[in-house]
Point group: C2
Chain length 276, copies 2
C-alpha cells in the first residue's frame, strides 16, 4: 500500500492510499479520514459508498462529512466505485464500466475479470483497513449516495451483525425494476434475473431486512426519481416494520448540495448507533 497524500483536517488526518487489489486485478485507491482520537486507539468507522461516475474523491471533497466525523470521533472510508485502468474493460456510457461498478461481482464477459466491487468492498478493503489503521472492526456503519446507497443497503442487509446502522442518500432502491440496474445487471450478471435479486435493496428488505436502524434521505426534486424508485423501498421498509426513518426532502435534488445539507444528520445517526 502506498500513501498518495495525507492532510490535516478537523484535528485528524484525511489520507488517500493506493494498493494492488486482488479482487479487482488492478490498483485501487481509497480515502480514509481518521479523527484525532485515532492517535490514541481504534475508532469506529463509517463506510461511504459513492455513486455513478465518482471516484474515491468526490464525497471526500464535497460531502462535508469530515467535520461531523471529527466531532463524533469516527473514521470515514471512501472506496472507489469500480476497477480502473487501461487493462480494465469499459463502456462509452457513463453508467456502465469504469465509475459504475454497482457493487456487484460480475460473472459475464468482458467484465468478470475486474468488476468484483462486492468482494473488494466487503472483504479485501476491510481486511487491509483493519490491519493497517486504528479502526475498530466491531464498530462499523455504512452509508452511500445513489448507486452507493444501493451498495450500502444491499451490503448492510447481506452481512447481519457487521454494521450497527445503515443510511443512504437517494439510493437506487429497486434496480431490478429500473433502467439504473437492469442495464448493468444484464451486462455484469447475465440474463438470469434470479441472480440479480441479491443486489436489490427493496427485494432484500422484503426478504430479510436489516438488524439495525436505517435512515434514508431522498430529495423531492431529484431529477432521477423515476430511476431511483424510492416508493418501492419505502413500502418494503414499512411492510417489514424495519426500524428506521424515511425522509422526503422537499425541493432537494440529486447533487452533493443535497448530500452536504443532511450529512450531519447521517453521521450523527451512525455515531449514535456506533456508541450505543
Amino acid at each position: 500500500m502506498k500513501t498518495l497524500s495525507e492532510n490535516r483536517a478537523f484535528g485528524g488526518v484525511q489520507g488517500v492510499y493506493t494498493h494492488a487489489s486482488e479482487a479487482c486485478g488492478c490498483d485501487m485507491t481509497f480515502g480514509l479520514f481518521l479523527p484525532e482520537e485515532a492517535e490514541r486507539g481504534a475508532v469506529p468507522v463509517i463506510w461511504y459508498l459513492s455513486g455513478l461516475t465518482c471516484t474515491h474523491e468526490n464525497a471526500m471533497v464535497k460531502a462535508g462529512a469530515q467535520k461531523w466525523a471529527a466531532e463524533a470521533g469516527v473514521a470515514l472510508v471512501f472506496p472507489d466505485t469500480s476497477p480502473r485502468g487501461a487493462g480494465v474493460a469499459n463502456d462509452e456510457a457513463y453508467d456502465l464500466g469504469q465509475g459504475a461498478g454497482f457493487y456487484v461481482n460480475a460473472t459475464e464477459k468482458p467484465w468478470a475479470p475486474h468488476f468484483r466491487m462486492w468482494d473488494y468492498v466487503t472483504e479485501e478493503l476491510p481486511r487491509l483497513l483493519f490491519n493497517a489503521f486504528p479502526v475498530a472492526e466491531e464498530r462499523q456503519s455504512i452509508m452511500g449516495h445513489s448507486m452507493g446507497g444501493h451498495g450500502a443497503l444491499t451490503i448492510a442487509m447481506s452481512f447481519p451483525g457487521r454494521f450497527q446502522s445503515a443510511s443512504a442518500f437517494a439510493p437506487i432502491a429497486n434496480p431490478t425494476a429500473s433502467d439504473w440496474g437492469r442495464k448493468q445487471f444484464s451486462a455484469y450478471l447475465g440474463k438470469d434475473e434470479a441472480k440479480w435479486a441479491q443486489y436489490d435493496a427493496t427485494l432484500l428488505m422484503k426478504k430479510r431486512g436489516f438488524d439495525g436502524p436505517i435512515l434514508i434521505d431522498q430529495g423531492g426534486s431529484d431529477q432521477f426519481l423515476d430511476l431511483l424508485k424510492p416508493e418501492a423501498l419505502a413500502e418494503a421498509m414499512a411492510a417489514r416494520r424495519q426500524g428506521g426513518i424515511f425522509r422526503m426532502q422537499k425541493g432537494y435534488d440529486h447533487s452533493y448540495f443535497f448530500v452536504s445539507t443532511f450529512i450531519e444528520d447521517h453521521i450523527g445517526f451512525h455515531a449514535a448507533a456506533l456508541y450505543d
Copy 2:
C-alpha cells in the same frame, strides 16, 4: 358554551368546555390548552384528533403535549371522537358508534342524524374556537393518533392552505382496505365504496397529497399493524414525492407511552412550520 374546568398548566391554561353542537345534534365537549402567550394575543393552534374509544380527555391527560406546546407558544385543541348521549345511536362494539366517529359525515341510518364529525371538526368547532379564544386562524396545524391520525391526514389534504403541517402517530392509513375502515364506512356511508375514498389517507395521498410537511411515527411492535397498513401510506407518500418524514419506531406499540415518547418531536415539527 360552558366552562367545565380550567387549570393552570405549564404557565398557561388547560380548559375543558362544552357546547350544544349543531353538526352533531348533541352537547359536545373539547379540551383547549392555551399557552401563556395567549394572554397577550392570538397564538398558533395544533389540532389533536384522538383514536378509537377516546374522549376529549385521553390525549389531554396522557400525551404529555402541554409542556412542549407551552415551550413553543402554541395552543392545543382536543375534540371528542364522536357524538355522545342517550339519544345518540350506538353499537356494542368498541369500534362503531360512540367513541368511533371516524371523522366522517354519516349518511346512513341510524347514524346520519348525529355522526357528522367531519363537519364538526372542520367547520363548527373551528368557528367557535376562533370566535371565543385567542387562537390564530391563519396558523393551524393538525395531528392525531390511530383513528385520529386518519382524521388528521384526511382533513389536512382536504383543506389545502388551511394547515401549515400535519402529523400522525400510527394512523389508520388505508381504511378502505382494512377492517378498521370497511366496517365503519359500510355502516356510516353505505355500500357504495366510491363514497369512501374521500376518507382514506392513502387514496388522498395518491390523488393530491398535502401542501406542507408531514411527519408519521409508527411503532414497529404496534399490535394493530395489520389494521393500520402503514406500508400503503409510506409507498403513496414516496410515490407522490410528498415532503415529509416516515419513521418506524422499533419496539414501540400503539399506546400513549408511544405517543408521549415522540410528542415532543411532533410539537416541535409543527411549531417549526407554524413560525416559518
